[in-house]
Symmetry: C2
Subunit: 577 residues, 2 copies
């Protein structure tokens, strides 16, 4: 009888075990899990702390007893593998329940240990009030201290887990400080796309310390004092470290399995490691990025589960293979939703890849039907053929839907021209006849077909002294906020006043409005009136101010503050692009 | 100067006009609209009656004055085209505002008159209390009578508009009767998928008269009496006809333009009619179905808008073309959402096409996170290569999202194997690590790979007398409801009791549970124990009872009533398929 031993009983490991049993009644399946629980809902941990999931048992999806009864799995919790003998095909197991050790033989070994939280090398980081949040016991410890009346918490790291924990602790009325090395929350997003999330977190009372880091931790009468690079010291009841994860590869390294350049375990498309008897799956393996083709590490539940299934298929001699990971992810931050799929502009820049981009701000559904708000979309695509490279969306309603549509488009290798043609489900409570994804396609296709030229917020400071900024909004909007020195001719007067601009024709003309629609119409008019060096501001004043509020702070060089709450979406509601 | 005359100023016509102006500042664009309003939000009409959109002005997206100011369009409302002279390239226009007539010349004519409500040939249907709902005046008339204290309404037709109007009138506390010719609401869905919507409408107080029709209408002291084929007569304050639409082709027919077999105007991929100077777009044209390749009529806003854009492109000499329509649509019915994309089983049967199908009932998002409920998915796909042919979804949260993902997959020509690999956005408030769409792919791929054999509710009555029905749920669930004569062996006991079934091995064995997961595991166990003629009930008891509650009614031949509220989703929450 074939013996399969799986190390790790959460996403990848348990998917592999369950699928393996369905495919093969005869194989012996042993799951060795270091912790006390298997197959628990680790993505739900922050929500039990915050109270959204009041019943802890809800997170314990399944017990070892149930797995034995339904799937005939031999699941051993608190059993830690401390060594692997590749020659003998055995693992040495420490049984923490009995305090004993034993050796288990395998024909096939599956590594599914996942990733461990990074612990920055900061003096005092081993303080007992410094927690991570990867397991049920982690959650229990944090929840106990909150239930015990903690008043202030520090979260280190502003990515998915960090912002989820910050939200959860605010729901429990704690004073929450979040420290993030980058000058933005959600560093996986490009910086201008993170602005709204940042202000939304502040609106909900999270104190953000961006672009800085903790330099030391120290005990203060049982509480903990964290000192920042800025010199500031924050005293809190506890700290949650959410500064990223790294693959757990110590066992793999001990036995000389090949690692990739990222530090993850190297596997082929069948999820096999450099040892033909050993597979690996989940957060610990290096994968190939769908868009860039580069090796990468992606710690996400979806890919982990699918990789586990493929391991089971392979063990049973099936030909299923894993292709690539595109890193589709989403996060809830209070009332907002933000997420991304495919690659980001910062990654494309780092790799020196060519790309084009558009921004838009459509409503989540028909704006005349209640319960919607603008979402902010950034679409990245290939200049040569329009292939979709990545998308980022931040907003309120319908954000996750458009992320999933774009994730599917990326997986299918669709172009922006395909996005124009997508036929999505429309009724006023759900969308618009021209869905935000169609609109993104229209904008991008307009750009690639040469029907529009954009200028971008980050080009503002490189504009020559002779650049003419043309604001085509109404005089009231202009009075409220405008780019310094901009000429104001409302779109509705442009045709009749175009001769006023004629003397400026030789100069670069940079048009803008609030969201980009009126200035696009103005662009079309001016181009057809013989103006040649004209461009319209991508994303309008909305994206422009998101960019500068973040990188230069409010009131920075020539960029007056504008309240996004006052943004005028009338033009966008009017007609399509 | 080129003169373009567009007949019709709503979705297709106004999209064509706006895009045309953006592409060409010089062309003369005249929009002739028979009604008083252009470019209004006709999909929002029921919601103003119901009160969800309190402000009528919200529906008037744009005025002719605004269109002149921003897009230099010559929009003439209450101007009806009464004749076209193809030779002279002129239209004869009746100006209802001035009561005068005039002739307008065109170089290019665009027909975008849309579709008109069908009026069944029923005696008395011209009663002044019989309304349709396609325009602002229609809406105003219905709203006035509701505001005036109407107490009972009859809606004829149970498709999108009919159910939206029924909901709106219930929101206004009217007693609502809905009459539908088919034995289901939402006839675009297959019947078993419409069951939940039917019961949900009844739960919200709509009286349904399914499988019948109005045979006559008569005045009763200013109210209206509608007699049904059943003999029943309902007296109401008014009737709303929502029995479908037909393309408005009288003008096109007068001038001899070619029509398709469906009665819609025949156009080529450039949206050009049989006259090279005349284009047509929107509800009035015949299109090709994405999946079946058959000609069809689809009255949806999304395709109409895109066709309008293509007309504009073509007029400007661009090569954009329209491909096909897949009929993606969604409807809100009180708290539920239902919709479809691609083709249905009834259409595939009618055309004699080969297909396979799966059913599943996943939660809208992680079941441990609050605010979700099971959705019911039907996926249709090609037996030979797994290409997705159609999907129908009914449920509460996340239904529109999965419809859009599947609509995108169909547009991309994806297979069920591609659905397995989709990488969608997961966090507990939005989805599951194995998204419902992935799960649908797993089930379908299992079927095509031969890892599972399904039996379907409609095969129940054809089962031979020797068929063994095996219920693998717990004894309590069995006591609550089971298929008559079924043997009960809970999944958790199946491995140890498999020899009890051995004497039955020669007989067909049809396994089931509540949603299909436990019976799938049982199928895998029995197959590997040498049982050959076994199959698992697709969709489980959940789909089975949906099918029989609809077609045979509660308590019909051998099918006891089961409350869907009690459905056991524990197995599904446990692990994936």
């Amino acid at each position: 009888m074939k013996r399969v031993v799986i190390i790790g009983g959460v996403a990848a490991g348990m998917s592999a075990a369950a699928r393996l049993r369905r495919l093969d009644e005869e194989v012996s399946i042993v799951v060795l899990e270091r912790d006390r629980y298997v197959s628990y809902a680790n993505c739900g941990l922050p929500y039990h702390i915050g109270g959204a999931i009041p019943d802890r048992e809800q997170l314990l999806v399944v017990t070892p007893e149930h797995l034995r009864a339904t799937l005939n799995l031999d699941v051993r919790t608190e059993h830690e593998v401390i060594a692997i003998d590749r020659e003998a095909q055995t693992v040495e197991v420490h049984d923490h329940q009995r305090g004993s050790r034993y050796t288990e033989a395998y024909d096939i070994l599956v590594l599914a240990q996942g990733a461990a939280p990074l612990r920055p090398p900061v003096p005092g980081i081993d303080h007992p009030r410094v927690f991570t949040l990867r397991s049920m016991p982690d959650m229990d410890a944090i929840k106990a201290i909150v239930d015990g009346g903690a008043e202030r918490a520090i979260v280190v790291g502003g990515s998915y887990i960090g912002v989820e924990v910050a939200e959860a602790l605010r729901e429990r009325q704690l004073d929450v400080h979040l420290i993030e090395l980058q000058d933005q929350v959600m560093p996986l997003l490009d910086i201008e796309m993170a602005t709204d999330l940042r202000y939304h977190m502040e609106l909900h009372g999270v104190t953000l310390h961006l672009g800085t880091a903790a330099t030391s931790c120290a005990d203060v009468d049982g509480r903990i004092a964290v000192t920042l690079r800025t010199g500031e010291t924050i005293v809190a009841d506890f700290v949650v470290l959410a500064a990223g994860v790294r693959p757990i590869t110590s066992l793999a390294q001990q036995i000389g399995l090949a690692l990739g350049t990222t530090g993850g375990i190297k596997v082929d498309a069948t999820m096999r490691t450099s040892d033909p008897h050993i597979y690996a799956a989940g957060d610990m393996v290096e994968v190939i990025d769908t868009v860039t083709g580069e090796p990468t590490l992606v710690a996400l539940a979806g890919p982990a589960n699918r990789q586990g299934r493929i391991v089971a298929d392979q063990i049973c001699g099936r030909d299923s293979t894993y292709t690539t990971t595109q890193g589709t992810a989403v996060v809830k931050i209070f009332a907002m939703t933000g997420g991304a799929t495919g690659t980001s502009e910062k990654t494309l820049r780092r790799l020196g890849r060519a790309y084009r981009k558009v921004y838009l701000h459509p409503a989540g559904h028909a704006s005349y039907y209640p319960g919607t708000a603008p979402m902010h979309i950034k679409l990245l695509f290939a200049p040569e053929d329009g292939r979709v490279l990545g998308a980022q969306i931040v907003g309120y309603d319908g954000v996750d839907k458009r992320l999933d549509v774009l994730a599917t488009a990326i997986r299918a290798g669709m172009t922006v021209f395909d996005l124009e043609r997508l036929e999505l489900a429309y009724a006023p409570p759900y969308g618009s006849a021209k869905d935000p994804v169609n609109m993104a396609g229209f904008l991008a296709a307009n750009l690639l077909r040469g029907d529009v030229a954009f200028w971008y917020p980050d080009e503002y400071e490189q504009q020559s002294a002779t650049t003419v900024f043309l604001d085509v909004r109404g005089p009231q909007e202009y009075a409220q906020w405008h780019i310094p020195g901009a000429v104001n001719i409302p779109l509705t007067e442009l045709r009749s006043r175009v001769e006023e601009l004629r003397p400026l024709n030789a100069k670069p003309m940079r048009i803008y409005c609030m969201v980009g629609f009126r200035s696009y119409l103005a662009y079309r008019i001016l181009r057809q009136h013989g103006f040649e060096d004209v461009a319209t501001l991508a994303g309008g004043g909305r994206t422009f101010t998101s960019f500068y509020r973040t990188t230069l702070a409010t009131g920075a060089p020539g960029i007056p503050f504008v309240s996004h709450a006052e943004e005028d979406l009338a033009a966008q509601m009017l007609l399509d692009q």
